[in-house]
Symmetry: C2
Subunit: 84 residues, 2 copies
Amino acid sequence: MKFQAEIDIMPLKALLDPQGKAVSGSMKNLGLPEITNVRIGKHISLEIEADTKELATAKVDEACKKLLANQIMESYKFELVVLG
Amino acid sequence: MKFQAEIDIMPLKALLDPQGKAVSGSMKNLGLPEITNVRIGKHISLEIEADTKELATAKVDEACKKLLANQIMESYKFELVVLG
């Protein structure tokens, strides 16, 4: 079966996010002061071929740990949907 | 009311995504050849104060168009949830 994974990788809450802070500041200048607490991370979509959803979950988790996320600075979460 | 917006900004499907291509290649070297079609974009979370969900949606849409997404190269979508 083929699955599509949608992964969000965000800077840990305990860490400063300078890019997000800069964007929060820009919102004021753009006339959108209602917007605060901007945090910016990565969104990754990928396709994975696996026999079961459990196997696909394990593989995506391995990919996140080994390559996609830096667990010292980032947290990740993902969702899998069956394709086709 | 306070809302939390979760925004995904992805490179348009018609465009090459060199970062995603590079990661797809790395998956093979990592022993995860099942993973293909990696595309990498941004995930942005922010908080917004607005009277109604419709107003919040309009403001977040304006923020995406004006600052967060480059509509020539990227598409965006977002979800709003009520906070607290």
